[in-house]
Assembly symmetry: C2
Homo-oligomer: 295 residues x 2
């Protein structure tokens, strides 16, 4: 499988779904809508919606009910980046090689664009009821989406990360931050895909474990790249975490152990994915690619 070509096809598909769900640039609030769309339509990896769709297919899903949730997930991911980049948070001026939202639209509009995207994510996900009103997975998927984006998920992880920046962290706290800050949305993506396809409770537990391993591997790879990467490839300043004096997995475990852990976690996830009867080739290839990615 040519994973890069396959991935590009899927990125294009996600972008097309996203464009269909994003608000039209018109009306008195046009500037807010433009700031929201600017934040979402950068050259993103679309990892979360792609993993959601693949997991949906893995369990036999064949409809379009997953699409509003795919769009919603990417909107939530994008809102979190807009708010993380704000001067009061990480104060980053570049993201994916482009100026961050607050640099282009100002701080007030960036706060509102994040709020708008987060709210529009739920407005979009709820449209799943119009597509399959009787799908019993929708209420559960909405519960997972909101829980894993919120205080018991991404926002909770981000709050501890922000609070403890520059302080010595113990392993438990670091694990908590990584599980919630990056892990929660990746786990939610795969679990929502499984829920909407009607997967069994046992399979959802397995999916959840695979997703947790992938999420942690992805976060550790991000930390490694922040130390070893190149600004041209990454699209953001190298050592931006170090500049802000942050403790990461790498400062805690060292580069070699971090590399080894990425590999072990990826194997753990792949073993679970290959154990399902459905088609998991793309998900496995994607997980392998995450190990070797340069950005």
């Amino acid at each position: 499988m040519d994973i890069k070509a396959e991935l590009n096809l899927r990125i294009q598909e996600v972008n097309s779904i996203l464009e269909g769900y994003l608000p039209e640039s018109t009306g008195f609030q046009k500037n807010l809508i433009d700031a929201m769309n600017y934040s979402v339509m950068g050259p993103g990896k679309r990892l979360r919606p792609i993993m959601m769709q693949e997991t949906y297919k893995l369990f036999g899903g064949k409809g379009k009910v997953v699409e509003p949730f795919m769009a919603a997930m990417e909107m939530i991911h994008s809102y979190s980046l807009v708010h993380d980049d704000l001067p009061a948070m990480d104060d980053d001026e570049l993201r994916r090689g482009r100026k961050t939202t607050h640099v282009v639209y100002g701080e007030a509009m960036a706060i509102l664009a994040g709020d708008g995207l987060l709210t529009y994510a739920f407005e979009t996900a709820v449209k799943a009821f119009d597509i399959e009103p009787e799908n019993k997975g929708i209420p559960k998927a909405l519960a997972v989406l909101s829980r894993d984006a919120g205080v018991y998920g991404m926002a909770g992880g981000q709050s501890v990360d922000v609070e403890l920046t520059g302080k010595r962290l113990d392993k438990d706290t670091l694990d908590f931050i990584y599980k919630l800050k990056t892990g929660a949305l990746i786990e939610a993506s795969m679990v929502i895909g499984a829920l909407l396809a009607g997967a069994s409770e046992d399979d959802i537990i397995k999916v959840s474990k695979a997703a947790e391993a992938i999420g942690l591997a992805f976060q550790i790879r991000d930390d490694i790249l922040d130390v070893t990467g190149d600004a041209d490839v990454l699209g953001k300043p190298v050592l931006s975490d170090e500049k802000n004096d942050k403790t990461t997995y790498v400062t805690f475990e060292g580069l070699d152990k971090s590399e080894a852990d990425v590999k072990a976690l990826s194997k753990q996830a792949i073993d679970i994915l290959e154990g399902f009867s459905g088609e998991s080739k793309f998900l496995v290839a994607l997980t392998n690619m995450l190990i070797d990615r340069e950005k």
Copy 2:
């Protein structure tokens, strides 16, 4: 009817429902949870959840399915105040006589507390499915909640308000801001109450019109109080809008016309409410009280 005593009873009931739904102050993210709870549990009027519950009862609603939506609505209202008060927005240090969230918890935590509350609002509203899984009004209520909080509701209105601060507004723009910024959540509150009680489409259109009139009257009263009020009574600095050089309904229409419009809009809403066969006495008394309120 002793409306003040009745209102206080209902405020206590809303506070008790809210406390039941708010996250427990524990875990690594305790500080975020404390900032969220601080933002919600101030001495608020709880106008929106009270109007939701009353409209639910007006159409014969007798269950608890409305409660998670009541809590969600107040969380959304609270998040909007936290973000509006931020230095990059209105830069207010006092709200309801208390220090604003960013003054107490810092700017980064205030941004996250707003994000956390907005997300937790949806996490909470979705719990309505656990109470009445077959209630056909829940998906519609979720759609209304997200639409009226977002780019086509409160956030959209706020963005235009922020953008045009200090600029001369025409009447259409002012109407747009008021309809969306304050009006949308009040309208959503009453419409959600009606939807969850199974009201007819015709009745929902009427409720929507009454709510729109109440929302506008409420906003105009707020502007009037900002000119004529007393800081001890209001709990925020008088002329805070004027300090920020904002055009309001009062600077546009003058005090006398503003007073007359509040009265006309209230009458319009009351006529609709009294036309329903259900019990509307409290809603009518509340609307009347909004005309004469001093804070």
